[in-house]
Symmetry: D2
Subunit: 350 residues, 4 copies
């Protein structure tokens, strides 16, 4: 079958790859729709993950079950399904303490050649009963595919802020993860929601999702801008974008004493964060910082699907282009980095 | 000044009462708008609280600061303000551990004659800097008055359910507290929201607030109806109405193993709950039940006001009648118990 | 092989049963030590669980791995191991949200004949990598066996109280679960620890574990006794014994407003709890009640083993008799119900 | 009266200062015992706080109530009391949301000349009913004084780690705060407890408090030493000492993915933390970091006193010298920085 393989830095090509084979717990999915992601772009440019070379790219997909292993109970051929961008290893005792995220079976971090990306004609999913989720009939393919990474990442990043009703929240970044985070904050009872970005197309969706204040980082220091408008520090900050680690310093400066900062950005380059002690009041102020990996697994996906099903979240609002034909994936990837009017393109395989 | 005083069972009358006097930490408020509450009805019918006799009734009010004590720093004459239906005693060490609700300075539970109801020309507020909250300019009197008891009670009752995104929630009762609870659940990320009631006028507002499924208790056992529609137990239940204690049994039966039930209904009569051990699986199923007093104090009020200010909650949707003239309070009280189309009446004093 | 089978009410006998067979994920354990439990007594007297008839009794065991399935990675023949009294079904999406306790593979609640009790020459453990835990060399068989049910139940029941340093805690019941709960409370920072019971042998161990106040229920109403000594309600209550459901009313009466009550007792008979609304202040006081199933699985067992390994908990203190020979199990069971000086007997198979 | 005043860098002298006057909510305490602290040393050397110049030093004290204001209800002349090293401003709405620590009335951070240190003949305490705590009869002066800062700081720092039974905990620093943190970890159910330091006198007390593994930072990189002994990262880390900010990097490296690091050290100099992104797995690992201010107020002090009263914590074990005469404070301060056998000296005024 055809797969979009990362051969070397800046060299991702379509070529033949072996068809996946399902073990007794596994499933093989035929992708119907995929979404290119900035992470794919970064990986192509840096190959910055241990086992990436020779792997198929792609981690956002919705599709149809093609085959299930003999022990799979809750899924069958023909089911419309989604799966998280990474699947936890549920057979890990750490998962019993809620630490399943620590052992993610990510195609680029494990050697296992069965664990591969979704930009291919068929896609292998381990432990299908624990990792797949049925797409309800009234949810579209476009809606579903957005949940697999943008949804699982942004909602987790905001969930861990432990917001209280009426809190003032800052979302740093208004790409697709930032936008989903705006909605996640709205759906956790945020009052005022600041977003920081620069592109009108993103601000427009942010507004529909519930953002109230729009800060353009090109118009001055963002900490100063926010403090001026808000009159005081914000209650909580989710970092959902930003290329440089020093965004963390801004976040710590603008959050209230006693407040939380979560981060779901990945810093691919081995840069150093230079954190002046003044940003944490010399160790004296109960500010909290945590990095956040996307949550994953069937239960979370079913919860996010329920949000869409009951009209709480309209993920399709962030889709700016819909392509047909798997060969259009490269065009989608290109748009992400070059077109200021692109938020999230999706590609139907047919 | 005139006050609406509870003299005896079923005998609440307008008569002269002494004007309140502010101590150094206190404030005197001139009510602009008040809302009659079913609690007022229950108190008139039962006098079921220790220090109710001879007290002025009423605990939902928004008004204008008339006078502040010499130590009050953040409020001044002319400010538009609200105050919770009860004020915690903030000078209690229990408040340092988050247990401020345990020592509520409720007019009907303390002897102190200064602590009185708000159905009077002037209203006394102790510890003004800790208990008052400024009404922002873009919030109306009608919106503000609903927050003082319906808001503080319902949002607390739902907050304590610790909902996760996409959870299926059941709100028992669709009076004004139940309706506010629907919105509180929506704003904590609930997916499916069941409500139980019988009146169309309430179901209509519930739908606008985010309810998805409407159960009429007159059409059969509510546990059976919900299990049939949902296909499985619900994730969480907030009891926001229901006259009889056995609503608690229904709630425990319909919630999932591992789920939470909170209750903010008051059971005025000394009835007994008969709880079959089967409802809690013979002690074996990690179901949780807690009673909930409304939260209170300036910080919470400011948070709820932020929800209204940023368009997250439209409390005015539940107002079905707007009266002018304080003498209309009795008519409002009457409507609550007799008119099936009444949800919440409010009364402007002028 | 021989197994101690519950044939009918009050008829548990030794007879031949089929040897268990390990599937690829499973293990077969040769029991070295077992502990009879009051639950065994109740089951013999009532047969009060759905699939008990014809099953081998017994759920507290430590032993040696005899055989593992082909997919088992972390255990091998000859390992000294323990396993929880019930094993969660880890292949359940609910486990992904921390609700693994809802789907316990308990021999008496599932039909599957492989899932059986441990009073037999060999014992079947499903999903061995997720359910077994290695006993460190410096932990004795006697210490280890106590953790499997007394440990997993009591520590969970106390953990869910969310104690703060210095809290005053009440443990209702001083049988082996109550005693382990005393230590669990001590190890969560309790200050004063009340226990309620009547037997000196138990009070003596409770004192060694950290109890400070000893209430004999034969000397008067326990609520009155505790309030008199403590001068105020207690911060938290764990119900770890007590035959009648009305112990729950006592617990709710003696806990502070805002406090928590957890219960890990099982109420086998379909009795009804009659809860006067006054015990929960007519729905008005933020008291919390939850039932608690024992926690289970490898991760929890490893945590409890660490407590023993580092000298925090000495489970062997509650062992009052040590028998040799599997035929002594009945004698142990007999002692539990008739001998006032018995806390916990254990039986070595050799 | 005499007070030990910080006049300038490295110039702290005894001189006459005005006697404090109690307002209606306040109390005047006559110190009986005080404890010099490394913070005093740092302040003398750096004057690194905004309003320190001309203020009396000292913030650890137990004493006798000399006078109370007219509104003080729960304390009277002659009571034996303690007070936290800083007192929160309880008249702040932030305190209603549990954020009282954000507005600490610390003598060195507020201009108000009444708010002063305790190295003086009399000591002013604002809001006495909320900030004082009675020392029970069976607690000594030496025990009590240790709780005021070492206790409130260390127990908060460990409490915020949210330990689970059996967790492996690392305490960085074995000065008096680190030692109290060891006990705090033991009393939250830690299994293995690593401490890092170098002095035998401290390791000995750490062992009595529950530490199990003793790492000398002079014998090599502490991360390497701990990983080698433990075989894997630790569950949680409390930073309770360490002069340089890069201790935070060590803590983040040695904690497990998904683990928490809390810090109660103060970094007085405006240094910069250089945090390589690799220490937080490029933003990808759910590690948490928070700075921690000591908790404070009457309720917390009463909880810590309960720990001592019921024998859970023996704070006197860390006292290495007991002086008599307030003029011995300087000698105590000297010992802290020069004597390797000093942990914590205390000074009785008589």
């Amino acid at each position: 079958m055809k797969g979009f393989v990362l051969e070397d830095i800046n060299k991702a090509i379509w070529r033949d790859v072996p068809e996946p084979v399902a073990g007794p717990e596994d499933a093989i999915i035929k992708p119907v729709i995929v979404a290119p992601c900035t992470t794919d772009k970064h990986l192509i440019e840096t190959m910055g993950m241990p086992h990436i070379q020779g792997k198929v790219l792609g981690h956002e997909m919705a599709g149809i079950v093609q085959e299930v292993g003999s022990n799979v109970k809750d899924f069958k051929k023909g089911d419309r399904v989604i799966v998280s961008s990474s699947n936890p290893n549920w057979k890990n005792p750490a998962a019993q303490m809620g630490l399943h995220k620590l052992d993610m079976i990510n195609p680029y971090m494990v050697e296992d050649s069965r664990i591969n990306g979704c930009f291919a004609e068929l896609f292998f999913v381990p432990d299908a009963d624990m990792n797949l989720a049925i797409i309800p009939d009234n949810i579209t393919w476009e809606q579903a595919v957005i949940l697999t990474d943008m949804g699982t990442t942004a909602f987790e990043c905001v969930d861990l802020l432990d917001l209280y009703y009426g809190d003032t929240v800052l979302i740093l970044g208004v790409g697709p993860v930032g936008l989903a985070a705006v909605r996640a904050a709205y759906l956790k009872g945020a009052g005022r929601i600041f977003v920081v970005g620069s592109r009108k197309v993103c601000f427009d969706v942010a507004k529909e999702y519930g953002a109230t204040d729009f800060i353009n980082y090109k118009e001055g220091n963002i900490v100063d801008q926010i403090l001026k408008i808000n009159g005081k520090p914000v209650d909580a900050v989710a970092i959902c974008g930003g290329q440089r680690a020093d965004i963390i310093v801004d976040a710590l400066r603008v959050v209230k004493v006693g407040g939380k900062v979560t981060n779901c950005s990945v810093f691919y380059y081995d840069e150093e964060l230079v954190l002046p002690m003044s940003a944490i009041s010399y160790g004296f102020n109960d500010k909290q910082f945590r990095t956040v990996t996307c949550n994953a697994g069937r239960a979370i996906l079913e919860k996010l699907l329920a949000l869409v099903e009951y009209g709480r979240f309209q993920p399709e609002k962030m889709i700016t282009q819909t392509f047909h034909g798997m060969d259009k994936i490269e065009e989608g990837l290109q748009l992400i980095s070059t077109d200021p009017n692109t938020i999230k393109p999706v590609v139907f395989f047919d």
